[in-house]
């Protein structure tokens, strides 16, 4: 007998509240249906009424975690329309903040994954270490989340030698800690066993459903905008595209840990090769009619902005596609034929941070028509309970 569970739509901690309606048969999810738009802010329409410089601050507020990535995507597009080239130092500093943001986002995700898998020590560790990078970001920009460091033609703040040393020291600490996380995979078989085989997304389906970011790369497809479409200095920066071929939550975890190391490498490259000179050039206010497609690899995947200018100081059209939207069709695929108890883990794995929020799930029993409300924490407890009773998947290798 099939019945439906509505999940959502309101999650206070989410940027994008979402409603998922699960059709379940017993414990098994047969289908999931997505309904969006609960927090639609009409941002694309609003952008048409703001000038280019105002739009930087508008786009920065699209996302609360990877705020910098939208601002970068917009700024590098607008710079091309305004026909200005940011100085090299400005570009390096912009992407230093971008990589530090990737580090903070991935550390945050690792904590969430640990929490959802019932490994709260891991959660405490990663979030404590995340403070190191948050402090660095605060020292560079003055803010922990909305850095507001981009401007048309470069960045707004410069770096001095003392701060450069501090960032390098902070990165050393983080690198050591990340090596420790990497070892956890080999020494903590229960954690690995919990993640393995959950939320399967085969390679062909990931491609067909246009998934992006770590979700796609964990299905063995080495797509990364930084490599495929090397904007700024990524063509010369030394880094590898991290992939895994297990196609499950374990793979997505491994990809993110690997990407942490790549980001440390890129940050090191930037700080070692930081050119001298100005950090910004003066930008004109009006752009000639034209259009530009700007792509950027956000922590969650490809971020694309399409900007059309019309000769005034305001864009004619700004189209934004955030990576989480691209991953929704793939999420439905991952949930299908999974267990109710795995919902938190699968959701968390695309990194929409849906599971950070405590929220209510309503279970409707089709046989009795009875509805019961379950706190999300209770659902998580069910998940842990189920896993505790399961025979452990032995000898799951850590695919590093």
């Amino acid at each position: 007998m099939k019945f439906q569970i509505p999940i959502g739509p309101q999650h206070p901690a989410l940027k994008e509240p979402i409603s998922l309606r699960m059709t379940v048969e017993g414990e098994v999810i047969r289908d999931a249906d997505i309904r969006l738009g609960y927090n639609h802010r009409g941002l694309e329409k609003l952008a048409e009424q703001k000038s280019y410089i105002q739009n930087i601050y508008l786009t920065e507020r699209i996302c609360g975690i990877c705020s910098h990535s939208h601002a970068v995507a917009f700024t590098q597009g607008a710079e091309r329309l305004l026909e200005i080239e940011p100085p090299k130092r400005g570009l390096y500093l912009r992407h230093l903040v971008a990589e530090l943001e990737r580090i903070h986002s991935h550390l945050l995700w690792l904590g969430v994954a640990g929490h959802e898998a019932g490994f709260d020590t891991f959660f405490m560790y990663t979030w404590r270490d995340r403070e190191v990078v948050m402090d660095l970001l605060e020292m560079i920009s003055g803010n922990r989340v909305h850095y507001a460091i981009n401007t048309l033609g470069g960045v707004r703040r410069d770096l001095d030698e003392a701060l450069r040393k501090k960032i390098l020291e902070g990165l050393d600490v983080l690198k050591q800690r990340s090596e420790y996380y990497f070892k956890i995979g080999a020494s903590e078989p229960t954690f690995v066993a919990r993640l393995a085989g959950v939320g399967k997304l085969p390679r062909e389906r990931a491609l067909a459903l246009c998934a992006v970011g770590p979700t796609l790369r964990a299905s063995g497809i080495p797509n990364d905008v930084r490599k495929d479409d090397p904007f700024a200095f990524y063509g010369e920066a030394p880094f590898e595209v991290a992939t895994a071929d297990t196609c499950d939550v374990l793979g997505r975890t491994v990809v993110r840990i690997k990407e942490l190391f790549e980001s440390y490498k890129i940050c090191g490259f930037i700080l070692k090769n930081l050119p001298s000179g100005p950090v910004a050039v003066k930008a004109p206010r009006k752009a000639k009619p034209g259009e530009v497609v700007s792509r950027y690899e956000a922590p969650r995947g490809e971020n694309i902005h399409y900007i059309k200018s019309n000769g005034t100081d305001k864009p004619e059209r700004l189209k934004v596609r955030a990576p989480t939207l691209a991953n929704y069709p793939a999420t439905v695929e991952m949930l299908r034929d999974g267990f109710i108890a795995d919902i938190p883990l699968i959701f968390a794995a695309i990194d929409p941070c849906i599971c950070c929020a405590e929220r209510t799930v309503e279970l409707r029993d089709a046989r009795t028509g009875e509805e019961r409300s379950v706190r999300f924490s209770e659902l998580r407890r069910t998940a842990e309970e189920r896993f505790r009773r399961l025979p452990a998947q032995r000898n799951v290798p850590w695919p590093f």
């Binding site: 309904r35 969006l36 738009g37 639609h40 009409g42 694309e44 329409k45 091309r80 491609l207 067909a208 459903l209 246009c210 998934a211 992006v212 797509n223 905008v225 495929d228 479409d229 034209g290 259009e291 530009v292 497609v293 792509r295 490809e302 694309i304 399409y306 059309k308 004619e316 059209r317 189209k319 596609r321 939207l325 691209a326 929704y328 069709p329």
Partner: protein, 157 residues
């Protein structure tokens, strides 16, 4: 594959169906095709460029016409397929049979521009609320929003 090689490939495969092909900046190719030929262009991206990644679909209101741009990503930049449909009769064939991941973007087009996407597996509204008044398409240039007066239940009228 360079931009010029990509354009040559499209011209070879689709011939006169390509109405215009330009590469305004490095790693960006813009093609213009008729609405019925978007599927054929997507097939070329899939088979010849070896990528079926559709980044997103942008809609633009140009006054009398709508411009739809399909942004495809591949391992060497991106290909943008542009098509135009009249605003008086906004109909567009769905890309879902070729690229299943197009569904959310096409549903967004329906909500925001009022373009009827034909052959969509799931044509329900995606972004607009359930009680959204019919015939209101926010991203059309002539659409303006009048905020209805707020009614507080039990409050003063």
């Amino acid at each position: 594959m360079t931009d010029q090689e990509k354009i040559a490939k499209f011209r070879e495969r689709l011939g006169l169906k390509i109405l215009e092909a330009t590469s305004p900046s490095p790693r960006r190719v813009f093609l213009t095709v008729a609405p019925a030929d978007v599927k054929a262009a997507a097939e070329v991206v899939k088979t010849d460029l070896g990528s079926e990644h559709l980044s997103t679909i942008s809609g633009l209101d140009l006054g009398e016409t709508f411009e739809i741009i399909y942004h495809f990503g591949d391992s060497a930049g991106n290909v943008n397929v542009r098509t135009r449909i009249p605003k008086a009769d906004p109909r567009l064939p769905s890309l879902c049979p070729v690229v299943p991941g197009a569904i959310l973007y096409e549903r967004e087009l329906q909500d925001m521009f009022g373009i009827a996407v034909e052959g969509l597996p799931d044509p329900r509204p995606l972004l607009t609320p359930d009680d959204w008044p019919a015939g209101n398409f926010p991203l059309r240039k002539d659409w303006t929003f009048e905020r209805p007066q707020e009614k507080i239940p039990g409050g003063k009228t």
